[in-house]
């Protein structure tokens, strides 16, 4: 069978896989490191410093973060574009999740674009120091604080609900019962990581 014909299938499966591995794993790691900011400024700087000094950092960043997110984000916009929201007629829970998954994907992409510019590219280009103080000064503006709150919650929602879809897409949960239980599991994921993200933002801002 010509593999050319399965291009779309392969891309969709790759898109689903990358969303969890490595992007989802990276998101969880990122939120855990950020959460050190709730302990103290030094604790955060130490944790962030540890990540910064990982060997082959630039390879890790490109291989596990930039390239997967670029693919996932750009292909994701295409996926959102080829769907047509019909909540007006069919306002059921899963249809809401379907719409929110696409909406939070777009918001997250915009947020990540800004976030990478501000906290990574600025460092690479101008040598801006990335530490607790940097975040504190960014988040001292109420606009940026709320922009970050929306961005972080969108990212966590997109990950949690995407995790549910991942389990369906790969055929790991089939029965309505298993899909329902998974809904509760990813709800816990959303609450836990959403809490960690917001707590870190508050710690930086205060």
């Amino acid at each position: 069978m010509a593999d050319q014909e399965k291009r779309e299938y392969n891309l969709r499966r790759l898109h689903s896989l990358l969303g969890v591995i490595p992007i989802g794993l990276f998101l969880m790691q990122h939120l855990v490191v950020n959460h050190f900011s709730t302990y103290s400024e030094e604790a955060f700087n130490t944790a962030a410093g540890f990540m910064e000094n990982l060997p082959l950092r630039i390879v890790l960043e490109f291989g596990l973060i930039y390239i997967p997110i670029l693919f996932h984000g750009i292909y994701g916009v295409y996926i959102a574009f080829v769907s047509e929201m019909n909540l007006g007629r069919y306002g059921w829970f899963r249809n809401w999740m379907f719409m929110l998954q696409r909406l939070t994907g777009i918001i997250t992409l915009i947020f990540i674009g800004w976030h990478v510019w501000e906290t990574r590219l600025a460092n690479a280009i101008y040598g801006t120091e990335v530490n607790f103080d940097m975040m504190a000064s960014i988040l001292s503006s109420p606009f940026m604080f709320w922009f970050y709150v929306i961005g972080v919650l969108s990212a966590v929602f997109h990950f949690a609900n995407g995790l549910w879809s991942f389990f369906v897409t790969w055929g790991l949960i089939i029965t309505p019962r298993s899909q329902k239980i998974m809904t509760y599991v990813v709800l816990v994921v959303f609450v836990v990581f959403g809490y960690m993200g917001i707590a870190s933002l508050i710690a930086f801002a205060s």
């Binding site: 069978m1 014909e5 399965k6 291009r7 779309e8 299938y9 969709r12 499966r13 996926i79 574009f81 080829v82 769907s83 047509e84 929201m85 019909n86 007629r89 069919y90 059921w92 899963r94 249809n95 999740m97 379907f98 719409m99 998954q101 549910w164 879809s165 369906v168 897409t169 790969w170 055929g171 790991l172 949960i173 089939i174 029965t175 309505p176 899909q179």
Partner: protein
Amino acid sequence: MAEEKKSIKLIITRQDDPDGKPYEEEFEVPYRENMNVISALMEIRRNPVNAKGEKTTPVFWEMGCLEEVCGACSMVINGKPQQSCTALVDKLEQPIKLAPMTTFPVVRDLAVDRSRMFDSLKKVKAWVPIDGTYDLGPGPRMAESKRQWAYELSKCMTCGVCLEACPNVNDRNDFIGPAPLSQVRLFNAHPTGEMHKAERMDALLTEGGLQDCGNSQNCVKVCPKGIPLTTSIAAVNREATIHSFKSFFGSDYHN
């Protein structure tokens, strides 16, 4: 009970030909007991006069079995895609709004062309091939419990309601929709059909196939036959995962 509900009000989205502009027309037909939408439409056909009293063309629609097994009379009734034969007037809010399903090209008025669904069934080989030059014999037996389960999937009448409700079946997307995905599961489960499983999976994973499902799960909610479409989709997803692994890591033959 002297004629309390004297008439039924209907607002029908009409279209004169496949390229025509849709327009709405109101009708009032005399009420009878136990009417369904089709008998109301028949009343209009008998006396094609609209609510303003003007003579008009009779409203065109498709129907077949009149007992919700053929799928031909599907339309959007008060915003909900369903069969007009089992849509009982007494249970509908008035005025009853009738419109053709939007996913399919309109032939005329309420009749749509569902060819794409039949093409999809051909594409994914939703059948058990038994034709040949000699008698193939009776074939393997099927467990009764499995037959009963498979019967539920076989109730699909390609009515198009699941495609109508699916947000990924639209002009920008060539997704074949939920119905044929479930049919693949049905024929893959059949003891003889199973012999062609790999072929069916290969066809299902081409452009517009299984991967385009976005899990909005509207299909399973609207299916008039209660077919577990989303369970089928997840099951075929698992089959696709296994199929891909076998194709990539396995040998040069697998089923």
